[in-house]
């Protein structure tokens, strides 16, 4: 498990290109925020996504006025786009904590250059996810009823419902991710404070740096706190998507009620999370000339994680399909038939193509280091994972036990505006993030340099 010995023996690309010093690493990363002039294309990109965010606000505003009737949901399909998008975004949000916490505990030092923006991505993805259940309530101003507070009305949440567990799981996850991200930022915020020429920037970064001076005692406490938070965050990676899978699996709807769901959802979440990390990392490293820090090694390792988690997802499909047939349960068998031949069959085949067939090209080593190809495959996986949630939510509800309660689901333009709107919000936030905070952890990159190796 020791990274350095592996580097010495293998022919793999390094985690950081040679020739850098402590100073030049700091210069290069902090310059993106402090000295590099903001380009026109940044303004165009941010402006465009900001407009899409405005569309989201419009769609939500109209929803609050008119109610959820403007969406395509109906009976029997009471969970439409809102839940599909919620699960999709939450899944994407898993890569951040996996990279920061689990890979830290596994001593995988290659994570050091991608953890910061993966964590930021997690926060924005969870924020996007959180919008959906909230607005899906119909009366979001009563959302606080979900919490068990001493109420004079005698209202108490149903603790046997996984929907209540979700409230706790997601809010805990968001809080811990935010803390983890912020604590990781403190030493770098202090660097920006010290290097900034602008008086206001110095004050703001100074407040955020919380008096960091970089003394040995600071570092000692920092490392302890960071490791403890990583330990806390690790079970969260599993718990959040496990609870999301319980939302479905504890019900008895065919297509939802199956015991493989927890590990299969977690694997799918990491799968889509890494796809999103690659879709962001590939353009960013190109635009900001960070190929020396986010090397082919990072691309290849991320591709391997996607390949492995994708295969677990494939295992889930196969076992679920087999059991539907083996059990002799006619409802399970019909669910399988309905996916293959029902009105939404096209999307099921698309799902199989996007999630299982196409990603197998990642077995080819050359493709794993080709940014353009990886970008394309990651896009395909993100589409596939969205379709998976669509199949699970809509196609299962669409035709359950009684023919008399079958129905069809057609998303309306408001559904689409909300969905696309959250993508816009997510990307606008990413634009702001790369502009005002160091997107790569400066001090952790410095530990990767040969200078940092201490003889024991």
């Amino acid at each position: 498990m020791d990274e350095r010995s592996e580097q010495a023996g293998g022919k793999q690309a390094p985690v950081i290109e040679p020739g850098y010093t402590f100073g030049s690493v700091t210069d290069k990363i902090s310059a993106i925020v402090l000295t590099r002039p903001t380009s026109t294309s940044w303004f165009i990109g941010f402006g465009a996504f900001f407009l899409v965010t405005m569309m989201l606000l419009y769609a939500i505003g109209y929803l609050l006025v008119r109610g959820t009737g403007i969406w395509g949901i109906n009976i029997p399909i009471g969970w439409g786009f809102a839940i599909v998008n919620f699960v999709w975004w939450i899944g994407i949000g898993h890569a951040g904590t996996l990279i920061s916490a689990i890979l830290l505990l596994l001593r995988q030092s290659w994570r050091n250059s991608i953890n910061r923006f993966a964590e930021a991505m997690t926060l924005f993805a969870v924020a996007s996810a959180g919008i959906f259940p909230l607005i899906h309530m119909g009366r979001p101003w009563l959302a606080y009823w979900m919490f068990p507070y001493p109420s004079t009305m005698g209202i108490w949440p149903q603790f046997r419902s996984p929907l209540v567990w979700d409230v706790f799981a997601v809010s805990t996850y968001f809080t811990v991710s935010l803390l983890f991200w912020f604590i990781g930022l403190i030493p770098d915020l202090a660097t920006l404070r010290d290097r900034s020429e602008n008086r206001w920037a110095r004050i703001i970064y100074g407040i955020l740096a919380m008096g960091w001076r970089g003394s040995a005692r600071h570092w000692f406490r920092y490392e302890t706190a960071y490791l403890l938070l990583a330990g806390l965050a690790t079970p969260l990676v599993l718990s959040v998507h496990t609870v999301v899978s319980f939302d479905f699996a504890v019900g008895i709807v065919p297509g939802w009620h199956t015991t493989i769901f927890p590990p299969y959802f977690v694997a799918g979440a990491i799968y889509s999370g890494f796809a999103m990390v690659l879709m962001l990392a590939i353009p960013i490293r190109k635009i900001y000339a960070l190929e020396d820090f986010i090397t082919e090694r990072h691309l290849e390792n991320s591709a391997k994680v996607m390949l492995a988690t994708g295969l677990i997802v494939a295992y889930g499909y196969i076992i679920e399909g087999f059991m539907g047939w083996y059990s002799g349960n006619r409802y399970d068998a019909f669910t399988l038939w309905n996916r293959l031949h029902g009105p939404y069959a096209f999307f099921y085949y698309m799902l199989i193509a996007c999630n299982i067939v196409i990603p197998q090209v990642l077995w080819i080593r050359k493709l794993r280091t080709k940014p353009v190809a990886l970008f394309a495959v990651s896009g395909v996986i993100l589409v596939g994972m969205w379709l998976e949630r669509f199949i699970i939510v809509v196609v299962s509800l669409q035709r359950d036990f009684l023919n008399s309660s079958w129905g069809m689901y057609y998303p309306t333009r408001w559904d689409w505006m909300t969905y696309v709107g959250t993508i816009g919000m997510f990307l606008a936030a990413m634009f702001l993030f790369v502009r005002i905070l160091p997107m790569i952890s400066i001090f952790e990159m410095r530990t990767l340099l040969p200078e940092a190796e201490v003889k024991e």
């Binding site: 498990m1 020791d2 010995s5 592996e6 023996g9 293998g10 046997r160 599993l238 496990t242 319980f246 699996a249 504890v250 019900g251 008895i252 009620h257 199956t258 015991t259 493989i260 769901f261 927890p262 590990p263 295969l311 295992y315 889930g316 196969i318 076992i319 679920e320 059991m323 083996y326 059990s327 002799g328 349960n329 024991e456």
Partner: protein
């Protein structure tokens, strides 16, 4: 190459391995005689114990193969130091295939409802269900054919992993890591699928009307846990002697302890997920499996597993000094192997009895099979050096510890 001066005899397992092997053989033979005598008296009872002990020891052999392939994927000294232990356990797979023959020849109708004549089944719903499923999947021929395929795949993987590893005992130094990786990646996928279907065939189909899609992964997690615990036990025996006393560093033991912790948690996670989903759904075709296992005294075993297969080992494994000290860790490893056995017992036996019963076969057959298995294992362990000296990664293990 600094390993060039290492002569292979220095790396051979100590002679004690032979002694343990011989003693295991004696125990195995004595108990086998008792077991075979019992088999003639009470064949149905015998085969219940037989399937139980077969699954328990298969878990160690197959789990070792899985951990070995995992090591080839990830690298690292923790795996190098136990590589030959896991290899020796993996090379017992031909013996496991042999042990499966009696089940196919004599055990099927005694163990599996679906292998009995349909007319003998009184439950109307079960008969209707079996009418369909025995035609398509759960037929005797299909069962045997699938078993042949599983064992062929496992033995083929074991053959190549051993062959290439053996080449690294002789000069010149070779880097087989790419070749091992190319086999281990697909090998792990094959293992995942074959063990899942084997688990369905051999254990889940004892109750042909019950399904659980996570069941294959549950069996898989249990096997990997058994294998890691077994490796810890063997390294504890070997660490008293050269060469293991020089190779085994606290850092490696720490990694083995972490793996134990991980798989204790993974097992509990899968087990809890299965239970919660089935309990909440409360469907008649599913909940009956738990009704059997939570009533009539079986519930005590279930509760015991929750506490002593998960909670207590989990808390103990959180301690860092405990994980780094092999002389202490080994006791938990032995305990967890007993718990693995109990878990398989709790999965298999309630199919045959409504109330908690322990038969002679549940004790005698596992000891008999275990004695023979261990004799074979220790013979394998003595036949190859404990470290492939001409693997490029061997250098790291042979270096003296930093601490």
């Amino acid at each position: 190459m600094s390993t060039a001066h290492m002569r292979n005899p220095d790396l051979m397992a100590p002679l004690v391995v032979k002694t343990i092997g011989q003693r295991s053989l004696v125990v195995g033979v004595i108990f086998s005689v008792i077991a075979v005598a019992g088999a003639f008296a009470q064949p149905a009872v015998f085969f219940r114990g037989y399937l139980l002990s077969f699954m328990a020891w298969l878990g160690v052999a197959l789990g070792s193969m899985a951990v070995l392939m995992l090591r080839h994927m990830t690298g690292g000294g923790w795996g190098m130091v136990i590589r030959r232990i896991m290899g020796a356990a993996m090379r017992t797979l031909p013996f496991m295939a042999l042990l499966f023959v009696p089940i196919c020849l004599f055990g099927l109708p005694k163990l599996y409802v679906w292998a009995r004549p349909l007319e003998s089944i009184t439950d109307k719903h079960l008969r209707e269900h079996l009418q369909e499923i025995t035609r398509s999947y759960l037929s005797v021929n299909g069962f045997i054919l699938r078993a042949v395929i599983y064992f062929a795949i496992w033995n083929a993987l074991s053959f190549f992993l051993t062959k290439w590893s053996r080449e690294q005992d002789q000069p010149p130094a070779r880097d087989h890591s790419a070749r091992f990786r190319a086999l281990a990646g697909p090998g792990l996928i094959l293992y995942g699928f074959t063990i899942s279907f084997a688990a369905i065939d051999w254990v889940m189909s004892l109750d042909p009307s019950w399904i659980s899609t996570i069941y294959g992964l549950l069996v898989l997690a249990g096997q990997v846990l058994s294998a890691i615990c077994f490796a810890v036990v063997v390294e504890r025996i070997l660490v008293r002697y050269k060469p293991m006393s020089e190779m085994l560093k606290p850092d490696y033991v720490h990694d083995h302890g972490k793996l134990m912790l991980t798989f204790v948690m993974v097992w509990a996670y899968f087990e809890f997920s299965q239970w919660l989903i089935i309990w909440a759904g409360n469907l008649p075709e599913e909940i009956t499996w738990y009704m059997r296992r939570l009533n009539g005294g079986w519930g005590y075993i279930g509760l015991f597993l929750v506490v002593f297969h998960f909670a207590v080992p989990f808390v103990m494994l959180l301690s860092r000094p405990f994980k780094r000290d092999v002389t202490r860790l080994v006791w938990l490893a032995i305990w967890l192997m007993v718990m693995r056995y109990l878990d398989i017992f709790w999965n298999i036996e309630p199919n045959f009895s409504n109330t908690l019963t322990v038969t002679w076969a549940d004790v005698v057959v596992p000891v008999a099979m275990g004695g023979l298995w261990l004799a074979y294992f220790f013979r394998n362990l003595g036949s190859m050096p404990l470290l492939p000296a001409y693997d490029l990664d061997a250098k790291e293990v042979l270096e003296p510890a930093h601490e």
